[in-house]
């Protein structure tokens, strides 16, 4: 975020790119702040949904893409529900986050989660404790998902390669 008083770099191309990627409702925002008023994250952090929308309209790319606040939205969609202009706020935030990740802004914790998907096809690991519990519950010890069949996991890997997700995350997939 720029310091108070420092001139901001306006980048109209940034706004155009956001619109091009399908987040065209950004132009409808008339800054009423209904979104901010209902935002559960804004209640406890400095994240302000309305301001984020304004920064995108104005093309303040450097304020938006590297920022931490972009990642404080829980995607609860309360704002989408209430916005009087039909701005698809969470869709816009998704688009912005995709752009941020492309530019290399990604938290370590999120890289680990992405790595887990690449390694297993699931978002979290399978622990021994839960294997045991599954047995006790008379469920298949390993869930009947891609976890139980290497061929199916390979299919998932192919999809991640075809979309270059592995490259994006900076993890090499073996084989």
């Amino acid at each position: 975020m720029s310091e108070e008083g420092e001139p901001k770099l306006v980048n109209p191309e940034f706004t155009k790119e956001v619109i091009k990627r399908g987040a065209d409702t950004i132009t409808l925002c008339f800054q009423c702040a209904t979104c901010t008023g209902g935002c559960p994250s804004g209640r406890i952090t400095a994240f302000r949904t309305r301001k984020l929308m304004r920064r995108v309209q104005l093309g303040f790319k450097e304020d938006v893409l590297p920022s931490d606040e972009l990642w404080l939205c829980t995607t609860c969609m309360t704002c989408d529900e209430r916005c009087p202009r039909g701005v698809k706020i969470t869709d816009i935030i998704m688009t912005l986050r995709n752009m941020a990740v492309e530019e290399g802004h990604m938290a370590e914790a999120h890289k680990r989660t992405a790595g887990m998907l690449i390694k297993t096809g699931h978002a979290i690991p399978m622990g021994d404790k839960f294997r045991e519990l599954r047995k006790t519950l008379k469920l298949d010890e390993v869930p009947p998902t891609v976890l139980c069949d290497p061929k199916l996991y390979e299919d998932v890997v192919k999809i991640m390669k075809a979309t270059e997700f592995d490259k994006l995350i900076g993890e090499r997939i073996d084989g």
């Binding site: 406890i44 404080l72 829980t74 609860c76 914790a109 992405a114």
Partner: protein, 282 residues
């Protein structure tokens, strides 16, 4: 009644498998023809993976949807995250032929094709619409009138309203009715529709922020003296179950399927409450 394929996702089978076994037992007790949809992957999770890259999110989603399509079943979700993710990806693929074509180019590499016809359902919505409260009521053996329930809807069950078309997300009734049919009482509390705090990758990245939201919800839940939280999402479930460390009066958590195991008098040991951080003693 439609045939359904139960979509497992990640958190249910790998953290709260009791939700999986409870759901299977409850569906069977209600005479629903349900099988686990085999060979699925992560939905992929809307908060993290959609945030990272919508291309891979749509393509992996399409693979899961194609599996349901192939097997001629509606895809039944017991997780708001999976439900939100697959509803949104299937909607995009239905509305945008270019996206569908792109996804199918990728799926062709694994010998699959998605025709855009999969029906994405949520467990609670399916019970309400396809099974019906009356039929559920008939199955209730043990009235749960000792339970004062803080119902937690979560966000991706009902929103976006236009896509889900289930109930009014600001003043919903569906889940309260599904809870009260067991004889339990749903107690109103402040900011009931508020998020648990976990979604959008917030729990993974800034756990303290997620915790603060949960603590706010817990203050409101404790204010009205609820003795259980009932949810329809294993991620909200995890957030409430593991996020109450700093809360003095801890309130146990049940997924709707686990509540029905109690109410229907099904084998309690299949509830898998050993996995819960907050003991469940009902």
């Amino acid at each position: 009644m439609a045939k359904v394929g139960l979509f497992l996702g990640c958190i249910t089978p790998l953290r709260y498998p009791g939700i999986e076994s409870s759901t299977i037992d409850v569906l069977e007790a209600l005479g629903v023809e349900a099988k686990i949809l085999q060979g699925t992957s992560c939905c992929p999770a809307p908060g993290v993976f959609r945030s990272f890259d919508q291309e891979v999110w749509r393509a992996l989603g399409a693979r899961n949807l194609a599996l349901a399509e192939e097997q001629g079943v509606e895809i039944l979700n017991i997780c708001n995250g999976c439900f939100g993710s697959l509803s949104e990806s299937s909607h995009q693929l239905r509305e945008d032929p270019k996206k569908l074509e792109k996804v199918n180019n990728i799926l062709s590499q694994i010998g699959k094709k998605y025709n855009g016809t999969a029906k994405v359902r949520h467990f609670a919505e399916f019970l309400y619409r396809d099974v019906g409260l009356e039929n559920i009521a008939k199955r209730v053996k043990n009235k749960q009138d000792h339970l004062k329930v803080a119902v937690h809807y979560g966000c991706h069950f009902l929103k976006p309203r236009m896509l889900k078309e289930i109930d009014d997300p600001e003043r919903p009734k569906i889940l309260d009715e599904l809870v009260e049919v067991t004889g339990a009482k749903s107690i109103p509390y402040k900011d009931k529709q508020m998020c648990c705090g976990a979604g959008g990758g917030v729990r993974a990245r800034t756990k303290d922020v997620a915790q603060k939201m949960t603590i706010q919800k817990m203050e409101n839940i404790n204010e009205v003296g609820a003795n259980v939280i009932v949810d329809v999402c294993p991620f909200c479930h995890l957030q409430f179950d593991q996020g109450q460390e700093e809360v003095e009066t801890k309130v146990p958590v049940l997924h709707l399927s686990q509540l029905y195991v109690l109410a229907f008098g099904l084998p309690k040991e299949r509830m898998g409450v050993e996995a819960h951080a907050i003991p469940v003693n009902f």
